[in-house]
Symmetry: C2
Subunit: 241 residues, 2 copies
């Protein structure tokens, strides 16, 4: 399982992913699920992935291959695409084609091979945009009304986002919100696990302005997690029925 969350705020894009991958419960591994495609000042794109590792890895390998292809143009390379919408379209098409091929290979196993992605970024001259790309290649976009998108195990971490995130949320509060959302998910689902990857693309920068890997045992994250637990328990005591 996986949990990835992205916020699209007036101040920038804030993205967080876990790194746990499992095939069953007895085969657990650590794989990065956040990928960067960046040419500072021109474009900054972050892709987060959930689902079958063979689908996501092959999709990303094909996206990279297309970038390095000498014949690539704006319709095949996300580093040449003219808009974030075109980036989302290229990724959606690649994901959809890869998923169909692998699902066909796995048909006899009666196993689902599927994946979804969050694509967030900004292209010079364009707005920041963030998309959730479905396994079929179609996508939806974060808006003023719903400024966050989630993939993977999204339910445990949604209540806190519903309550505190608006487009006006500051980058500092946004980092806190996604980390607390992840903290709830880590507590409730064993198949979501440390370390975490966080990235921030500040509005107008066209660059990934913050990249941070939060390791298991990270003192700040542990302190925040304990403080949040204590605050929740205190709140619970205070509220009366």
């Amino acid at each position: 399982m996986t949990y990835c969350v992205g916020l699209k705020l007036n101040a920038g894009l804030v993205l967080l992913s876990d790194t746990r991958t499992n095939a069953g419960l007895d085969n657990i591994a650590c794989y990065r699920k956040m990928f960067f495609f960046e040419e500072p000042g021109d474009r900054a794109i972050v892709v987060m992935t959930a689902g079958s590792l063979s689908v996501t890895q092959t999709t990303l390998a094909r996206l990279s291959e297309a970038i390095h292809d000498e014949m690539a143009d704006e319709t095949t390379s996300i580093m040449k695409a003219l808009t974030m919408l075109q980036v989302a379209t290229i990724i959606g098409d690649t994901l959809s084609r890869t998923r169909r091929e692998i699902a066909e290979q796995c048909r006899d196993l009666r196993q689902q091979a599927s994946a979804s992605m969050i694509v967030a970024g900004q292209r010079a001259g364009g707005d920041m945009r963030m998309f959730l790309i479905y396994p079929e290649g179609n996508f939806i976009e974060a808006t003023e009304d719903t400024p966050f998108l989630q993939i993977g195990e999204h339910k445990y971490g949604k209540p806190i986002l519903d309550r505190v995130v608006t487009p006006a949320t500051s980058l500092a509060d946004a980092q806190k919100a996604v980390l607390l959302s992840m903290d709830s998910t880590l507590r409730s689902n064993l198949s979501v696990g440390m370390p975490l990857d966080m990235a921030i693309i500040e509005a107008g920068a066209c660059a990934v302005t913050t990249r941070r890997r939060i390791l298991d045992g990270d003192a700040d994250f542990a302190r925040m997690s304990v403080a949040w637990s204590n605050a929740l328990r205190d709140s619970f005591v205070k509220v009366t029925i």
Copy 2:
């Protein structure tokens, strides 16, 4: 969809269910999902249901029919069963048989007809017990380590239970915990809805000691919900990263 939760505490059993039933998103109705089988002083049994309404209603109708059958004995009537384990077995068998029959009828629709139940209660001379009965009729039981069981849309409301519920939790705190757990679920999933049904079986009473229907617009519940939202937002501000 549905959300039902039960706590098994040293002080008693605390049970809460919603009442929303939907067939698709455009056909929403209100159905009770909490059912009482009681002979005060001898036995108190509460059944909560989730899943296909045709399966749960038929299962309950058959359980009632068996109770009123003159030939009924301790192996067929939950009002004659000698232990709560026997009650769970009768309900599991009835649910499993009903589900198989209805699934067979629905085969051409390629639709899942399934259901699960929480069965909680006490029989004079026995301990309080609480079971989660799976669609196949097998079941698990709440224990000291995991004193709560949930069916239906369980994820949104689990983090608060994980944090505050232990077997030593008081009945007052337990009511608050299940109501806050329901509140998180109501906010995040439209297919879980008011009114709510709450029941308490105090330890040793062998009777349903509290029954309460909480209607939409209930002042106490609304006040608690707002207080909890405010407390969460305050906690969010206080916690630092």
